[in-house]
Amino acid sequence: MIRGVIIMNDQGKPRLIKFYEFQPPEKQQELVRSIYRVLCSRAENVSNFVKVDSLFGPDVRLVYKTFATLYFVFIFDKSENELAMIDLMQVFVETLNKCFREVCELDIVFNFYKVHTILDEIILGGQVLETSSEEVASAVDAISRSLPLPLSLCAYVCALVSSCEWVLRCNRHILVQLSLRVGKEWQFHDSIYSWLAEMIATELW
């Protein structure tokens, strides 16, 4: 069965930790650190398996894969097939890609709950449930539809900026200051940038 799934970035910061047998939080952090130490020392284009006998006991294996800035790590025992685990990891990433449209690290950072929901549709109690990313994506969609629409990041920002709109009209300096601050704070969000640029352009005109 699968013992755990971890997503962490290339700095060793965990983005998702799920163990299928209870582990105290300190132990989880410790495990993530030890795994990161092993992973970051490995060169590219080498095999994806790592021996983790010292961390999890004999017969437990670890497979990892790098996607952009993220390490995806699956920990499993001998009743799983190693190559099948790599395939499953691919399924997981594909599903994330479907659910977030071109997934990046920030999607996973800001969607803690959704990522857990996706993972729960693929693996339950360490058992593989579903191996088709379409099925998983549609199941997750069905769940999201049943939930009230959360205030999404984009909507939040738009509300913030539009509320400042009269300020824009009043004082160009304040506008510039604000745009800088907001820009800094939301630097990851391209749409805000373009929106602000547009605003500034019209205003200056």
């Binding site: 284009n45 398996f49 790599i86 803690f112 109690g125 593989v128 579903e130």
Partner: protein
């Protein structure tokens, strides 16, 4: 904190706010920020408004999961929120429970039972799924028992998602509450015939987990599994079914015959590598008696190994490792690829390949493989180099050097390994050097030769990783000095100025070896002079000396080497002996003031002995006074006694010897030494190996340098110039190692790492060309040397662990469902009774008793009132000291513990048992240490 105000809930941070703020907080302030956030959460979570509460719990779960914060205090809030009607709140609550609840210790878990039951029978699919996934995470015995009926209903749910999730959850419920098997098992089995792939996959996965622990119970289901194997085309399902057959096939030979055909078919036709690999593994693990199938599997492995994908290569090597246990020929067929993998860029692959190469090692090819590996080690990175050395040492040392036929070659090879640049396996090499010395009598002369090369080379002293090897070499040189051709050069080497670079414990061994060499020379001199009148005829064990002589002659006869002992005696004149004694005296003199207890003790002993014997040597020039003769008589008697005590064989002792000794009356063994620490709170306990009063290193270096200067009347104090001096003076002894190797040796010489590293590629090719196993045994000109060993190896304890019992419980229930009652009895009777320990009488019992007695009597000796001479005599009085130490060496092995023996008269005897300590500190040294230690204790108490 007061309850949350309206402002709090209005301006509550959402989880997104929290994440953003965490990302923006400057590095270093994160913990402070998190602490602040937790304070906020503690306030908000008490809110009666479910939105506020849910938001707080969301944040807390996030911090718990990714920042490792404790949230056990909020367990009740999770339970509370789980009853919320809003699905999003429920989701938050259940996820926090799944991530943070500890099934064994969270006590509010039981409060969740009702809510889970409600959600499991809810018409909303999402609620049911959520409850199932939570249950599988936090299941404990109580929850499993209480929710089994709901789960039972869900097992025939019409909704596919629910049903497969229920099946996956059943596994956890079975594990926690085996009685659930009696209720649910039939329905689970029925699902095996379901046409839906999702359900089939879940149920096959469940059986795969169940068979892992106790396969026999599931044999009756084999026809169903067989049907799936033949009919199903889904890779995931097939992989799991293959895993099940891997477990079932060994139990029922007929089953193996049935499944081997379809498995081979799958392997031939299916493209998915994961499935093919699973087929290969199944065949190699469980169907290895079907030759054609194995052949096919090995050919598939070969395909894997030739692929570029490192994962396939790695798995291919692992598959070969499975075959290697049963059929080494299959590995040998692929040895070209295995050896090629040895130079792969991936460390994993290299290690696997190395392991396989070591599997191929046999008596016939060990020399060749080792030679190739060591040249490989020389050009590898330090990490892999040490892996290689470690593997070689492990393989060659396995089962009392099973694969080694030519010990002379192996001993040479050990010396060579020690000189590999990145070698960090000094401890292991040292252990084997000493071990071979004790176990293999025939290897000793070569061992002494190798030790000489190591000890004599001043360059090695600068490498701290070499010190362990050097200490072993020094010990060997001292212990088997009678086999050495030139004790004088050994003495020079043991006292060379650069020994000041050694750690005190190693230096102590050097000094002690020098002591043994000195004893040997003096004794030989006395014997040579043939003054029978000097040696009292009353001595009983004079036959021992003749034994030694016989040994020497044997050795000469077998090895065709130059006579050793006799050549020594030819050079032994009064002048040369006197020069030797003076050399020792001058070199050790300054060490009598050393701060290191080890060094000080030993040098004082040697100096005391010199004081005793010097007049005798001088006196034999002009023996006129009767009084003088009397003293000489005494001195030579002492020398004889010491030499005898040194020249008895130090054999290995069984690991279990200590256990066979009954604990003497009046002995209280303590579990730990806590109260000892109390007693000597302000005094540093004299840890024997590194007892030091001041920073010793520099003082000592300059000390010895000074003395050396005086001796050689040189001005320079630098060790390099000293070394040059030393070389000049004793240039004779720095011969190139090649010259010393006897030409008449009929073993292939050990590989010279520097010379042959270039032709390494050819070696690889040669290894691949030459058959490793099928080759005929070389004509062995002489029988393999005897290796002393004990037949009672380690006693293995039978451990029954909890999972085993649990698995038995499940399988009992399964048997009951599938077969009826009679099966359960057979399954319980299958359990083997625990192995009883073999207790055999061993002569070592008396030895260990002796340790006790010696220690007991010595307990009364105070440090101040014993002269070194008297102390040595005292020591010699205990005739079997060497045996004691042999015993301690063996009992110390592996235990590494300190045991405290409290005596009646309130003094403590503490034995520092540790492998490192006891293999180095040998024989009388231990007794002296006990003495020192006792004097400390008497003083303390």
């Amino acid at each position: 904190m007061t309850g949350p105000s309206l402002m709090d809930s209005l301006f509550q941070r959402s989880i997104d706010d929290l994440i953003k703020a965490l990302r923006l907080s400057p590095p270093g302030t994160e913990t402070a920020f998190v602490a602040k956030a937790i304070d906020e959460i503690r306030r908000e979570i008490k809110s009666t408004d479910p939105h506020t509460k849910a938001a707080a719990l969301q944040k807390l779960t996030y911090l718990h999961s990714l920042h490792g914060l404790d949230m056990s205090w909020a367990a009740f809030h999770s339970v509370e929120l789980s009853s919320s009607s809003a699905h999003s709140h429920k989701r938050t609550a259940y996820l926090s429970a799944a991530l943070a609840f500890n099934p064994a210790t969270t006590d509010v878990l039981l409060l969740l039972t009702h809510q889970l039951r409600k959600d499991l029978s809810s018409p909303n699919v999402h609620d049911v799924s959520l409850a199932l996934s939570t249950l599988s995470s936090i299941c404990n015995t109580d929850l499993a028992r209480d929710l089994t009926p709901e789960l039972f209903t869900l097992l025939i749910s019409s909704k596919v998602t629910v049903r497969k999730k229920a099946i996956a959850t059943v596994l956890r419920v079975f594990e926690c509450y085996p009685d659930a098997v009696r209720v649910c098992f039939k329905r689970v089995v029925e699902n095996l015939e379901n046409s839906d792939l999702g359900i089939l996959s879940a149920v096959v996965g469940l059986f795969c987990e169940l068979t892992e622990n106790e396969p026999r119970s599931y044999l009756p289901l084999a026809p169903e599994f067989y049907k799936i194997l033949v009919d199903c085309k889904n890779n995931w399902v097939l992989i799991k079914v293959l895993k099940i057959f891997t477990k079932l096939a060994p139990l029922e030979p007929r089953l193996g015959k049935r499944v081997v055909e379809p498995i081979c078919e799958i392997m031939k036709t299916m493209g998915a590598k994961s499935l093919v690999f699973e087929c290969v593994r199944t065949i190699l693990t469980s169907l290895s008696e079907h030759d054609s199938a194995v052949k096919l599997a090995v050919s598939k492995v070969r395909e894997f190994l030739s692929e570029d994908d490192p994962n396939l290569k790695y798995l291919g090597l692992q598959a070969l490792a499975i075959v290697a246990k049963k059929d080494i020929l299959a590995v040998v067929e692929n040895k070209d690829l295995v050896v090629k993998a040895l130079s792969d860029s991936d460390l994993n692959i290299r290690l696997e390949a190395l392991r396989l190469v070591m599997c191929m090692v046999s008596e016939d090819n060990v020399m060749e493989i080792c030679r190739i590996l060591i040249s490989h080690a020389l050009k590898s990175d330090p990490e892999f180099c040490n892996e290689i050395l470690g593997f070689i040492l492990l393989t060659c040392g396995r089962n009392y050097y099973e694969v080694i036929f030519y010990f002379d070659w192996y001993v040479l090879f050990l010396g060579e390994m020690a000189r590999v640049p990145h070698c960090q396996k000094g401890d292991e090499i040292a252990t084997q050097l000493i071990d071979i010395g004790m176990r293999v009598k025939d290897a000793r002369s070569q061992l002494v030769h190798v030790a000489r090369e190591l000890v004599i080379d001043p360059a090695l002293l600068g490498n701290p990783f070499m010190h362990a090897v050097l200490s072993a070499a020094a010990w060997v040189s001292g212990e088997y000095i009678k086999l050495s051709r030139n004790p004088f050069e050994i003495m020079e080497a043991l006292l060379q100025p650069r020994t000041s670079l050694l750690s005190p414990s190693v230096r102590a061994i050097y000094i002690h070896s020098a002591f043994k060499v000195l004893m040997f020379c003096v004794h030989s001199y006395l014997k040579l002079n043939g003054e029978e009148s000097l040696i009292p005829s009353t001595l009983t064990d004079s036959e021992l000396v003749s034994d030694v002589e016989v040994d020497d002659h044997n050795m000469i006869a077998t090895n065709g080497q130059a006579p050793s002992a006799s050549s020594v005696t030819h050079h032994l004149t009064q002048e040369s002996l006197l020069a030797l004694v003076n050399l020792v005296e001058i070199n050790l003199g300054p060490l009598a003031g050393s701060n290191e207890v080890e060094v000080l003790e030993r040098s004082t002993n040697v100096l005391g002995l010199i004081k005793l014997i010097k007049p005798m040597i001088l006196g034999s020039l002009n023996d006129s006074e009767g009084d003088q003769t009397n003293r000489e008589l005494k001195a030579s008697e002492t020398v004889k006694l010491i030499f005898d005590s040194c020249s008895e064989d130090l054999g290995p002792v069984s690991v279990n010897a200590q256990e066979k000794v009954p604990i003497p009356n009046g002995l209280v063994l303590k579990e730990n030494l806590d109260d000892l620490e109390e007693i000597c709170g302000d005094i540093k306990l004299p840890v024997l190996t590194s007892f030091s009063l001041v920073r010793p290193q520099f003082a000592e270096v300059s000390n010895s340098a000074e003395c050396q200067d005086k001796e050689e009347s040189e001005l320079s104090t630098e060790s390099t110039s000293l070394l040059a001096e030393h070389r000049k003076r004793h240039g004779l002894y720095y011969l190139s190692p090649g010259n010393a190797v006897t030409v008449s040796n009929d073993y292939p010489p050990a590989h010279d790492p520097y010379g042959k590293a270039i032709v390494e590629d050819e070696d690889l090719a040669k290894l691949t060309e030459k058959s490793l196993v099928t080759g005929k045994k070389p004509i062995q000109s002489k029988p393999r040397p005897v290796v002393v060993k004990f037949d009672d190896g380690e006693v293995t304890n039978v451990v029954t662990n909890r999972t085993r019992i649990k698995a038995d419980l499940i399988s009992d229930a399964v048997n009951e469902v599938l077969l009826g009652d009679e099966a359960t009895t057979s399954s319980s009777s299958r359990r083997k009774p625990p192995k009883s320990r073999r207790v055999t009488e061993d002569s070592n019992i008396s030895i260990v008793k002796l340790v006790w007695e010696v220690a007991n009597t010595m307990g009364m000796v105070k440090r101040g009132d014993v002269e070194p001479q008297a102390r040595i005599k005292n020591m010699i009085a205990k005739t079997s000291i060497k045996v004691i130490v042999g015993c301690m060496v063996s009992t110390g092995r592996g235990t590494g513990r300190i045991k405290q023996w409290k005596l009646k008269h309130q003094s403590f005897l503490i034995f520092f048992y540790s492998n490192a300590f006891l293999t180095k500190i040998l024989r009388s040294v231990v007794v002296i240490n006990i003495l020192v230690f006792f004097s400390h204790w008497n003083w303390l108490c």
